[in-house]
């Protein structure tokens, strides 16, 4: 379990028993470890309250907000028990300057209702990062002050980083081939 908690006790809670296996919990969400990096898995409903707890617990900066489209994922999702994998996953990283600690949060966002609450009021630095996730993956952030496309032109249709959006590569004619270019 975690060791360096000096403030509130929301950081490490009593482990939860589920189907006879202990799941470590923190901030109200199950914890997993990815190559020794701590990852929590909040639900969509918990998202803002978990972020608020993280801020209260000393994670003073939101480092990164990104998203992943698991549509064509060939491997195992490796999520803790009780968390169902959805098509989209919003991944946010936080850092505590004081404790020199990082934590990552992965939230599942279903395809049918691809929206999630925005962290803008808690971590204003997530402003541009959330816009990028919206633009390239199509996950909308409720409560964001200006959710508009940031990378692609405003009239662009489609969300390029989705797995069902083609890379857009054109076949290349090499020298010597009888082509117009």
């Amino acid at each position: 379990m975690s060791a360096e908690s000096t403030s509130e006790d929301t950081q490490s809670e009593e482990p939860v028993e589920e189907a006879g296996v202990e799941i470590e919990m923190a901030y109200g969400c199950p914890v997993s470890y990815s190559r020794a990096q701590r990852v929590i898995h909040p639900t969509r409903e918990q998202w803002r309250s978990v972020a608020s707890s993280l801020l209260a617990d000393g994670f003073n900066m939101c480092v990164d907000v990104t998203g992943v489209d698991y549509l064509t994922f060939g491997g195992q999702r490796r999520l803790p028990a009780g968390i169902e994998g959805e098509r989209f996953e919003v991944v946010a990283g936080f850092i505590s300057h004081e404790r020199r600690e990082r934590i990552r949060a992965r939230v599942q966002v279903p395809e049918a209702d691809a929206t999630i609450a925005s962290l803008y009021s808690i971590y204003p630095g997530a402003d541009a990062l959330e816009r990028e996730v919206y633009d390239l993956l199509g996950v909308a952030f409720e409560g964001h002050p200006d959710l508009s496309r940031i990378m692609m032109p405003e009239h662009w249709e489609g969300h390029p980083l989705r797995k069902d959006y083609a890379t857009g590569a054109i076949p290349v004619q090499f020298k010597g081939a009888p082509a117009s270019r």
């Binding site: 990096q37 060939g74 009021s121 541009a128």
Partner: protein, 453 residues
Amino acid sequence: MTVTDPTPETADADPVTPVVPAPSTITIDDDGLLTQLDKLPRRNAVLRMSEVRAAELVDEPLDGENDQTMLVNMGPSHPSTHGVLRLMLELDGETVRRSKPVIGYLHTGMEKQAESLTYLQGPTNVTRMDYAAPFFNELAFSLAVEELLGIEIPERATWIRMLMSEMNRISSHLLFMATNGMDLGAVSMMIYGWREREQVLRFFEMVTGLRMNHNYIRPGGVAADLPDGWRDEVLALMDMLPPRLEEYDILMTGQPIWRDRLQGVGTMTAEEAIALSATGPVLRSAGVPWDLRRDEPYLAYDQVEFDVVVGTYGDCFDRYAIRLNEIRESMRIVRQIVDKMPRGDYRVQDTKVTPPPRARIDESMEALIHHFKIFTEGFKVPEGETYVAVESPRGELGCYIVSDGSSKPYRMHFRGPSFVNLQTMSHMMADSLIADAVAVISSVDPILGEVDR
């Protein structure tokens, strides 16, 4: 937690606790959740208008008395926006009331492209993100891939990476000196900065074969060993630079015009910087002594001594002074690397990951097969996801990779420090003149390649 007052140029690196300014208040909003919006007193300076709407305003009739402000476009093709950054400025006379940085003019789809390139081709792709500091992109990518692979690279490879990274920091900060000087009118600074930078680029050409976008730091180590005589070249560079940096001090640092243009311009408090997720010199100028090389050491930074340069006022002058002194700190690190460089391999000997030496391909069938497999199919990386961050000259450069067990990344995301630091610009430019806006953009030192990816 007390806040000590760091001196403007250097601060002692306390290895135990970083002295981070405590937040003045903790605000709870209506939902009972914490909020940091009150830490941003100038948040109304962010113009939230769509580009389409702004274009429509041209055709609308004037609003009479209410029409005191003017919406002016700056960029994307502009001599001092550091690349293709477009700024929509709402001006009241010459004062900038609100502004909106519009990006995406260099969006290259690198994250999508990475999904169709193998892990060995990955560094060629990511190195073109922050093209002024290409080694850092390659480093972040390679560290993330090595974390997923679970391999440890030889010590010499680590130290070579550190050497190239610090030399790259020097060349990137020299580029900043040059462009910052030119933007503010010291046009000859452009020539001086490039004069020094050329020497560093010649060293890079000697080691990696290319002046820019090297694809040298690869998963498993580096592409080739340092050439013979590298120590002499590096030490010649280290001897050449300090007098030149003193020239910059004479030309710029002590000069009244320079100080008037930069001091007090584009100020940012520590709380604002942290709330806006700023990192790098932008964060350190506000007084927050956070540097990943010291606080979350990677490579071998815990075995070299250097200071973290921290500012006090959070203005453009602090950011300029921080970068100038970071050149000196990097030179210090480079001298220590020259002394301490270990012998050994320059890449891991695992033939499943690194290609065998070209000479062996003629001799051994296995080497030929490994070479073939690595360059056509690529090596497979175990499933998982990881995030690795390095301290680039612009801030925290992070690489997030999700692997599905195949030879190409399933998802690769780069946290570009300039992308996040750009958010601070509207706050810094509020109620300042257009000329100050140029100074602010220049002091944030964005590289649009990593902003847009």
